[in-house]
């Protein structure tokens, strides 16, 4: 009389689960199966690369123009005393239109091992997220940092730090790991906040589980570049109320 042993049942179950996994993965797979879609993806990537290259060129042009304007204004100062150039310089410093140097804190942050940022469907705690960078920047601001940058992108009050898929954009400019985040300011204020209990809880948990790599150190000589983005005003105007 043929009876099935528990081993046979186990083999059947394992085989069934395996086939089920395979079939479902295949059915749900978002991988394109035709060369047309591959071509589309290639074109999109190429388009993004072109925009990023254009952006880098436009930003360097902006920096060059601002430098040239400053040079011309310095010449005006020599010929005329009443130019308010000191006021202008102070405002430019405040808004990040001049590079800054000094002591502060440097953070190096990067993805965990074995994760693929190229896979746009990957949602992994081992990837550094835009929210991690925002939290660090906010912490630096809480510690009264005077200038902040991420991978040489100056972070100013209006800098958006956002993600598009697994790409992170700072000032709408692509930045890739490893992330080098620099804050000028008093390390005595910044470091205790960074290591304090409750500061950056999500990030600290992932670092302690070796999901992402993080290091922070106080340094005497750091530099933060000039802001090279857009400052065009379209809607903002001086209020008629209370400015007397």
């Amino acid at each position: 009389m043929p009876t099935l042993s528990w081993r046979t049942y186990l083999v059947f179950v394992a085989t069934g689960v395996f086939i089920g996994l395979l079939v479902t993965t295949q059915v749900k797979s978002s991988l394109p199966s035709s060369s047309y879609i591959y071509d589309q993806l290639a074109v999109q990537k190429e388009l993004i690369k072109d925009y990023v290259d254009d952006q880098a060129m436009l930003k360097s042009k902006i920096v060059a123009l601002r430098a040239k304007i400053e040079e011309n204004q310095a010449n005006i100062r020599q010929s005329s005393k009443d130019t308010n150039l000191e006021t202008l310089k102070e405002l430019k410093n405040d808004i990040g239109l001049s590079s800054a140097k000094g002591g502060g804190v440097e953070i190096n942050l990067t993805d965990g091992f074995f994760v693929n940022r190229e896979n746009i469907e990957e949602v992994d705690q081992s990837l550094v997220q835009a929210s991690d960078l925002r939290d660090i920047v906010n912490l630096f601001r809480s510690a009264k940092a005077t200038a902040i940058s991420i991978n040489d992108q100056r972070v100013i009050a209006s800098t958006p730090i956002s993600s598009v898929g697994n790409t992170i954009m700072v000032n709408n400019y692509h930045v890739l790991p490893p992330f080098n985040i620099v804050a000028l300011g008093d390390p005595e204020l910044i470091m205790p906040l960074l290591s304090g209990e409750g500061a950056l809880p999500d990030l600290q948990a992932r670092v302690s589980q070796f999901k992402i790599q993080f290091s922070a150190s106080a340094k005497n000589a750091l530099s933060v570049p000039v802001y090279n983005g857009n400052l065009t005003i379209e809607f903002l105007q001086e209020s008629s109320k209370g400015n007397q």
């Binding site: 069934g16 089920g20 996994l21 993004i48 254009d54 009264k144 983005g229």
Partner: protein, 223 residues
């Protein structure tokens, strides 16, 4: 003999049916495991703090950024021409000073925009994210509970008793965000599917939200 063969055939048929059912159940189980794993992934993405936007949004953002950078270059070229002309140079400097005074929060400002009021128990990180979203949508000035955010503003901080500080002042619910910019673009950005307000609502139940577009938003200068 025939009787035994018949019994054997019936048993074999039963075993065959059983095997088939086990196989079917196992396939279903495998399917469910994958679906569940994917569903967790989707939920994580949805309630996570960052939008899982697609490649088209990336292209749109880059295109719009490059257009704005082009505008900035045109402005700077005009400015350069003025600084080259001694007659117009002082005028150019005055214009620049006014622009930077507006941007740095040295004066009271106004303009079209919106007001977003959130009532409930909200953590500081969500406030940071909303401010980020407003600037990402092109806001030219943002304030929270009357505090204008500038490069000099001390960031959001949570003190041990759970209260949130901004620029050294305690923030209490309701949290009122004011933003000056293109009011439709700002509204669309906040309310987009899987956008910040939807994610916030899914992550923190019980938060009341009120979004009002305004022709004139007034914002006091930074302290």
């Amino acid at each position: 003999m025939k009787h035994f063969d018949k019994i054997r055939q019936v048993k074999l048929a039963r075993i065959g049916r059983r095997q088939f059912l086990i196989l079917l159940t196992s396939i279903l189980l495998g399917f469910l495991i994958i679906m569940q794993a994917r569903s967790f992934t989707d939920v994580t993405a949805m309630i996570g703090r960052d939008t899982r936007a697609d490649v088209f949004r990336e292209i749109k953002i880059l295109k719009s950024t490059n257009e704005k950078l082009g505008d900035e270059i045109s402005d700077l070229e005009d400015q350069l021409i003025k600084t080259s002309d001694s007659g117009k140079a002082l005028e150019g400097i005055a214009e620049e000073i006014l622009k930077y005074r507006l941007l740095t929060g040295r004066v009271n400002v106004s303009g079209p925009g919106l007001e977003l009021t959130l009532t409930g128990d909200i953590k500081a990180l969500w406030l940071t994210d909303i401010v980020n979203e407003l600037f990402n949508a092109g806001a030219e000035a943002v304030g929270v509970n009357g505090i204008r955010l500038t490069d000099k503003t001390i960031g959001f901080d949570t003190i041990p008793n759970g209260q949130i500080l901004l620029n050294g002042a305690i923030l209490k619910s309701p949290f009122v965000f004011t933003a000056i910019g293109d009011k439709q673009v700002l509204k669309d950005a906040l309310e987009q599917p899987h956008g910040i307000l939807q994610r916030l609502s899914q992550s923190l139940g019980g938060v009341e939200m009120a979004l009002v577009q305004k022709d004139i938003v007034e914002m006091e200068k930074a302290l």
